[in-house]
């Protein structure tokens, strides 16, 4: 039976999920008659406002945005407690019409709470523009409460909403007529709990509602009950909850099923599938095979840019800045001792200075990565690579850290901490240094340009693919024979495509370039000076220097790959940082007139193309730099696994380099 009442002050609560236009509706209802404060004892903002009509006062309370009435956050707890404890006269459920199915969950909860309600169907214009047609009458019938279509932003629907509020406020309270029925098993559990609780128990919430929430695992309700129940009663309650911890799934599912059913009744979607350009692109970019080809093509494209735009700039910088600076400095220091001139021209400019000329190539790589990240492609590449990684025994979570490795291996190793399984985490840590980092790209760029001219891009791309193949094989072997883990299932959210933000892209690129410059100006500079000292002392003859002796010790191994002792020394110093290879070669082989040309000419004079390819492979697979090793030690907390990483990479790098050298000789690249 519906009766009539007429309270003079009507409390109206506005409830809704975030971004449904709740505040817009609140502002439209209250105008300037608002008060902003905090919820008692909380730092969450509380907005209240007044509206007067026919001698009555409507006191509106804008509740914090919430998706449900379970206290999962402070905001949701505040909203929930106000609705369940304060029992406002009317609750306006603000619904985003363009996202109706999602918003209906909260509406369902409000119906189950039994509050007098009006549904404000906001953003009707957005729904229409998305092709959704909402049948308001059908929705009203399904909900059993007044439904007011609105576009609050334009003030549309405010008057009908006020009329509906007044009508509901004047009605006698009655039990809800809509909403899902709980399954029989859940009803039985509620009854069981109800029997356990003393009849006279003074709960701050409606009793039945609180028991359902208890079954849903609501922490706040648990705390309240634990505090007021006798310990033995609470133990019995806990035992029931423990035995039926799947009840939450049943209860939530019943609401979602109801929401889906209500949505189907009230909304007609456009006929004919509308495929957006993004979805069209995803059909290729996230395709298991097509996506891999697209990824490979993307890498090839980046190399094309690095070689056709970055490399000429690098040559120009090397020939005009490094060589001329060295020459000018040599002239200016005419009266200084030879060793000091050599220190500055060969050690400083020829070493660290030469490394800095690679900034254009690196900047293009960083820029391309930043654009791909900002556009949303990286997530797709990660998704495609993730499928591939499952084939090679890696886990789904591993792709995120490994992708960080393209910039630098250190964050890739550190990022592996997001992988929960120890076996999968250790596998990720151990293969992360095999991701071809930007520093290795610099070395590849120098060697392929010096030895392969027009085919440089193809050789570089092939070497990266070889590197990834080795990574795959290493992961497969490690996960099969060392760390066997359980397969798992993952879900990944792929972001929408969007136009890259120039500022974000430039900031990311600038930051990475800055880090490279800092590295070149500190670690590489210091190491260049050490290399210079070792190559100069004791006799100012490099053949008889400390470096010469060390290099000749390594020469027999280098001989298997067609590499002379200077290349082995350059490789050895890459332990400090991969870019150090170039700085060391700059110091040893000199810069002189046309630094870039001189270094390249000297390189081609001491090794054949077969040895160059072999050296690139060696450099790419060689032991990680010292920073990466420190990261491996930190993440594995084991010197044993750190040693294993060094050992297996050392073995792989030499085996692959020797095989490549011997194979390249067979193809006539040995001369």
């Amino acid at each position: 039976m519906t009766g009539k009442r007429r309270p003079k002050i009507v409390t109206v609560a506005l409830a809704g999920a975030p971004n449904t236009g709740k505040s817009t509706v609140f502002n439209a209802l209250t105008g300037l008659r608002q008060h902003v404060g905090n919820w008692p004892g909380k730092t969450v903002e509380k907005k209240t406002g007044i509206y007067r009509r026919d001698g009555r006062v409507f006191s509106f309370v804008d509740l914090p945005g919430s998706y449900s009435l379970t206290a999962n956050s402070l905001e949701e707890e505040i909203a929930r407690d106000f609705l369940a404890r304060e029992r406002p006269d009317v609750v306006i459920a603000i619904i985003d019409a363009s996202s109706l199915e999602r918003n209906l969950y909260l509406v369902c909860e409000l119906l189950q709470l039994g509050v007098p309600m009006v549904a404000a169907l906001n953003m009707m214009d957005v729904a229409r523009s998305s092709g959704l047609e909402v049948d308001v009458a059908a929705l009203q019938a399904a909900l059993g409460v007044p439904v007011v279509p609105m576009v609050a932003r334009d003030g549309q629907g405010i008057s009908p909403l006020l009329e509906a509020i007044e009508a509901v406020a004047d009605e006698e309270r009655r039990p809800p007529t809509a909403g899902p029925r709980l399954a029989d098993e859940i009803e039985a559990l509620v009854a069981k709990l109800d029997v356990l609780l003393p009849a006279e128990l003074d709960l701050p919430y409606p009793r039945r509602w609180a028991l359902v929430k208890l079954l849903e695992g609501d922490r706040s309700i648990r705390r309240s009950l634990k505090a007021i129940l006798a310990p033995d009663v609470w133990e019995n309650v806990k035992s029931i909850l423990h035995r039926h911890d799947q009840a939450v799934l049943e209860i939530a599912s019943s609401r979602y099923d109801w929401a889906a059913d209500t949505y189907r009744r009230a909304v007609s979607r456009p006929t004919g599938e509308r495929i957006s350009p993004g979805e069209r692109a995803d059909r290729l970019l996230t395709h298991p095979l097509g996506g891999l080809f697209a990824f490979a093509a993307m890498v090839f494209g980046i190399y094309w840019l690095m070689f056709n735009v970055g490399a000429p700039l690098q040559r120009w910088l090397s020939d005009n800045m490094v060589a001329r600076s060295a020459s000018a400095l040599e002239d200016a220091l005419g009266g200084w001792p030879d060793w000091s001139t050599s220190l500055l021209t060969h050690g400083l400019i020829g070493g660290a200075g030469l490394v800095l000329t690679f900034i254009p190539i690196l900047a293009i790589l960083f820029l391309a990565l930043a654009i791909l990240e900002d556009v949303g492609y990286m997530a797709r590449a990660a998704f495609v690579m993730d499928r591939f990684m499952h084939l090679i025994g890696l886990r789904g979570q591993s792709f995120l850290p490994l992708f960080l490795g393209w910039g630098c291996n250190v964050p890739a190793i550190m990022g592996s901490r997001i992988v929960e399984s120890r076996a999968a985490r250790l596998t990720t840590v151990l293969v992360a240094p095999l991701v071809p980092c930007a520093a290795r790209m610099v070395v590849i760029a120098l060697f392929t340009a010096a030895f392969f001219g027009g085919a440089a891009i193809l050789v570089s791309w092939s070497m990266v693919m070889m590197n990834l193949a080795v990574l795959a094989l290493a992961a497969l072997l490690i996960s099969r024979f060392i760390f066997r883990g359980q397969e798992s299932s993952f879900v990944m959210e792929i972001p929408r495509y969007h136009v890259p933000n120039i500022r974000t892209v430039l900031l990311a690129t600038g930051e990475r370039v800055r880090r490279f410059v800092v590295l070149a100006g500190t670690v590489i500079l210091a190491m260049s000076l050490i290399v210079w000292a070792f190559s100069t002392f004791p006799s100012n003859d490099i053949e008889d220097s400390i470096l010469g002796h060390i290099g000749r010790g390594l020469a027999p191994i280098g001989g298997l790959m067609g590499l002379d002792w200077r290349m082995m020394v350059a490789l050895l110093t890459s332990f400090v940082a991969k870019e150090q290879t170039i700085a060391t070669l700059g110091v040893i082989l000199g810069t002189g007139e046309g630094a870039n040309g001189a270094l390249k000419t000297n390189l081609t004079s001491i090794m054949a193309p077969a040895a160059a390819v072999s050296f690139i492979a060696l450099q790419m697979l060689f032991i990680p730099c010292v920073s990466s090793l420190a990261a491996i030690r930190q993440e594995t907390r084991s010197w044993r696994w750190t040693g294993f990483a060094v050992g297996y990479m050392l073995a792989i790098s030499f085996v692959v380099a020797i095989v490549i050298y011997q194979a390249a000789r067979l193809f006539g690249l040995g001369a």
Binding site: Y67, T70, N72, S99, E101, R102, Y105, G217, D245, Q246, V248, L249, E250, A252, S253, Y256, D257, A260, D282, T286, L369, E373, M378, A379, A382, F383, D386, R387, H390, G396, Q397, L400, F403, L404, G407, C408, V410, P411, M414, G415, R417, I418, V419, E420, E487, S488, S489, F490, V491, M492, E493, I494, P495, A508, E511, R512, R515, Q634
Partner: protein, 87 residues
């Protein structure tokens, strides 16, 4: 039962499913699929892959100077509890 169906779809794929694909299979909008995922996380049937990063925050992370968080993607993993429910 919508949540169980979603869990079944996730478990059926020993690998990674995209949220969009799951939404299409379930015939629900992606935003609702995400809400269903949150529900499963709350129930302990799924876990978010960033769980270990969140309490630390980037400010205290040793990788903060080098980590660019490039992918910015949500990632969820099926838990043993989720697996048990389906067996």
């Amino acid at each position: 039962m919508m949540l169980k169906r979603l869990l079944t779809l996730i478990a059926a794929n020993d690998g990674t499913s995209s949220l969009d694909w799951l939404a299409r299979e379930m015939d629900v909008p992606p935003a609702l699929a995400e809400q269903l995922m949150s529900e499963l996380v709350r129930g302990g049937y799924l876990r978010t892959a960033y769980a270990e990063c969140e309490p630390v925050g980037c400010g205290a992370c040793p990788a903060r100077m080098i980590c660019q968080q490039p992918t910015g993607v949500g990632l969820w993993e099926l838990t043993n509890k989720g697996r048990r429910l389906l067996t």
